[in-house]
């Protein structure tokens, strides 16, 4: 009896000192507290720059001058700028063509690598090279390959194979330049797609193929009915990432053409940089960058929900 009374007494005595304790017992408070560091980091490193970008896009800030709020004027003036619209069409074209190329070739490569081939690990490592090499370095290599006077491709075609009489003007004519840049982007993007899809392919159980084989399915049917549906989840993630990377590409274009000839290869990202930093019109540059956001959101939603709508995305199993 005594012991129980003592215990109750002790409990009773300890109670009042604990407003702090009570606060820490509060689940809502604890959750908020634990999330604070993460939220702070996000706020500082994500929200602040994004917010600043949004704010700048609504000012007439230039380098050296803080600028004043001018509402949507930057966007209105951009909407009347043919060069801005050319950069929008270029970006969409570049993203669609390059991403399609990357996925077709990447899927093909992934399926080849999924078969048994000698030195498979070694070859897989090599395939990653274009992706590992810093973009600026590979861009410089391509810039030499596309040089109007010193191109190795032109040299082979003209001086060795005698298939042409003149060197190819890879980067000096609008469509040549656009095509050349898309090729470089595809070359650089294939490894990412191939390795990601390869990981997806390896999760598909071989028994499914064996069963299909017994049922008399041919190669195309196995690809269409087994590989594609089971690859969809990872395909949609890879596609989303790839579209984001391609849409916001800057380095390749800036290092190879700087948007030339006469702006025909400008992407929104390169135009935004050119106007904001070398051109010192920070507000206008920020507006171009902000104008990319709606496109990115639409593209992401399309990829994520359009291509790979599956229950797993809502947290359920993929059956």
């Amino acid at each position: 009896m005594d012991a129980t009374a003592n215990a109750a007494e002790r409990l009773f005595i300890r109670r009042p000192d604990g407003w702090l304790t009570r606060m820490f017992d509060n689940k809502a408070f604890l959750v908020t507290l634990c999330m604070l560091p993460t939220a702070g980091l996000l706020l500082i490193f994500l929200t602040y720059p994004l917010g600043l970008g949004l704010w700048l896009s609504m000012t007439d800030a230039t380098i050296g001058q803080p600028g004043h709020f001018i509402g949507l004027q930057n966007f209105i003036s951009l909407s009347q700028d043919p060069i801005f619209w050319m950069s929008v069409t270029n970006t969409i074209m570049y993203t669609v063509v390059a991403t399609s190329g990357k996925f077709l070739l990447g899927l093909w490569l992934a399926m080849l690598l999924n078969n048994y081939i000698p030195f498979r690990a070694f070859i897989r490592a090599i395939v990653l090279l274009p992706w590992i090499v810093p973009t600026v370095l590979s861009a410089i290599a391509w810039w030499w390959i596309y040089d109007p006077q010193f191109s190795i491709i032109s040299y082979l075609l003209v001086n060795v194979l005698h298939l042409r009489s003149t060197y190819i003007d890879f980067l000096g004519a609008p469509w040549n330049a656009r095509g050349s840049l898309v090729v470089v982007n595809i070359w650089r993007g294939i490894p990412f797609v191939a390795i990601t899809l390869l990981a997806g392919l390896q999760t598909i159980s071989p028994t499914l193929y064996e069963a299909a084989l017994l049922d008399g399915a041919n190669g195309w049917q196995r690809f269409r009915r087994i590989t594609v549906p089971l690859l969809m989840p990872i395909l949609s993630v890879a596609l989303t990432l790839s579209v984001l990377f391609t849409f916001s590409d800057f380095q390749l274009v800036y290092a190879i053409t700087r948007g030339g000839p006469f702006n025909t290869t400008h992407l929104m990202a390169t135009l935004a940089f050119q106007r904001a930093i070398p051109g010192s019109q920070l507000g206008e540059g920020a507006a171009i960058a902000v104008a990319m956001i709606p496109f990115l959101i639409v593209a992401t939603l399309l990829c994520f929900y359009g291509v790979g709508r599956r229950k797993w995305q809502q947290g359920a199993g993929n059956d």
């Binding site: 050296g64 596309y146 000096g172 050119q274 070398p278 010192s280």
Partner: protein
């Protein structure tokens, strides 16, 4: 006006190191070929415990950095003020300056390009006393130095111009001779005919109309000015939509036909590479195109250099050579704790005992802003440097005839004039529509 490739700078570094007359000894030796006028010595009251941090663009020629450092060390020795210089790649200068200006912290002295003093006019110290002192002592500032050094429309100096980089005609003497010329014709018809003949002989000319910020803007400006056309008038009103511009575009189309193919994709090193490979016989460029070959270990390259000469670009319809230069100016930012020391440092670097050896070691890459430095012997020791002497003595500049402002540099950075020419010479646009587009693009900034 061409960015040096790494290889070229290495070559020039070797070059500078291998010329005995430009050895380190020279920095200490008295400079006897710069005439000075007597003037009251400018005495700045140096702050106690001052130290300076200086930001400037990276070297092109190894000697540029070497002599800069020798001179800086000499300043520390003379005053006890420690000076730390950061050499930044050209492309990174703009963003770094912007950060410094916006945050009010960073280097005390920034040596920037072109219109930078105008852009940061409200953030930098007045330099009028120093400019007046240097101008009086060294025979006066050239026009381009005044244009870029003073706040537009006033006589207040906001920067001290340290040099200008120009790009006259560079050509192969023997090939031009084969075409029947002893020098480059000064009239437009003659120049076109020469280019046609060079092309027929298999040694075409070439100049960039791609997104090459230095070369292409200089070439496009030459095309414009040599026809009497210009971007904006004295008040900054759009003046490019003129008959003269259309004439310039038609001429450029003719000229482009004589050029080597692919110049629309050339960046700033495009013509250097083609010239060094013997693919072109004529282009517009800084002195680097000569020295890169002159100091190459390869004999074929040395032969190209031997056969190279420079001449001011053809005047055409202009009264004076329609060429400008990329100007380098020193600014002292208001946030510095040691404004007197900072100004005194700039003064020291511009005095003949320091500036003379630096300028001559840069071998024509930088042209002098002050008349007295045009009398230095090195200009005549190599006749090729002649075309670079006095390059800042010109009435032409980016955005001529309007104010030097953020607008004029935005137009250059956005290649507005370059793209106008490029779209017409490639046949993608008619001269009339290209002029209209350029005018509306430039208007966005001149507004």
């Amino acid at each position: 006006m061409v960015e040096f490739t790494r290889r070229e700078s290495l070559a020039l570094g070797l070059a500078a190191a291998s010329i005995p007359i430009l050895g380190t000894g020279r920095a200490q030796a008295a400079v006897d070929d710069v005439p000075t006028k007597s003037v009251t010595q400018l005495e700045y009251k140096l702050e106690k415990g001052a130290t300076l941090s200086v930001l400037r663009p990276a070297k092109f020629v190894a000697a540029d950095e070497k002599y800069w450092n020798i001179n800086t060390a000499a300043y520390t020795k003379a005053t006890g003020i420690d000076v730390k210089t950061s050499f930044l790649s050209w492309e990174d200068m703009r963003p770094q300056e912007a950060v410094t200006a916006n945050t009010g912290a960073g280097p005390d002295v920034i040596v920037g390009f072109g219109s930078d003093p105008q852009i940061y006019a409200s953030k930098v110290h007045d330099m009028s006393d120093l400019a007046e002192y240097l101008g009086t002592k060294y025979g006066g500032w050239y026009n381009l130095a005044k244009l870029y050094g003073t706040k537009w429309g006033t006589k207040d100096w906001i920067g001290i111009p340290m040099g200008g980089s120009s790009g006259p005609c560079a050509y192969r003497v023997s090939w031009v001779k084969e075409a029947g010329y002893s020098k480059i014709p000064d009239d437009l018809e003659g120049f076109l005919t020469l280019c046609e003949k060079l092309q027929k002989a298999g040694h075409p000319a070439g100049a960039s109309l791609g997104h090459a910020v230095g070369d292409a803007n200089a070439f496009a400006n030459w095309l414009l000015w040599t026809h009497g056309a210009y971007l904006v008038d004295e008040e900054g009103k759009m003046a490019i939509d003129s008959k003269d511009t259309v004439a310039a575009l038609k001429y450029a189309t003719q000229l482009q036909k004589t050029f080597i193919p692919g110049t629309l994709s050339w960046n700033d090193s495009g013509n250097n590479k083609a010239y060094a490979a013997g693919e072109i016989g004529l282009t517009f460029n800084g002195v680097s195109i000569y020295f890169a070959n002159r100091f190459s270990p390869n004999e074929a390259q040395q032969a190209i250099a031997e056969d190279t000469f420079f001449q001011l670009a053809p005047k055409g319809m202009a009264h004076t050579t329609p060429e400008s230069a990329l100007v380098l100016s020193a600014m002292v930012f208001k946030h510095t704790r040691y404004p007197n020391a900072a100004k005194d440092f700039v003064r020291f670097m511009m005095e003949k005992d320091q500036y003379g050896p630096w300028l001559s070691a840069c071998l024509g890459y930088w042209s002098e802003p002050l008349d007295a430095y045009s009398k230095m012997k090195f200009w005549t020791e190599n006749p090729r440097l002649q075309a670079f002497r006095g390059a800042m003595d010109t009435q032409f500049y980016d955005g001529y005839k309007g104010p030097i402002s953020p607008a004029s540099s935005a137009v250059a950075a956005n290649y507005t004039v370059v793209d106008m020419f490029a779209s017409v010479v490639s046949g993608a646009a008619s001269p009339e529509s290209a002029v209209k587009l350029a005018a509306s693009q430039a208007q966005r900034y001149y507004g």
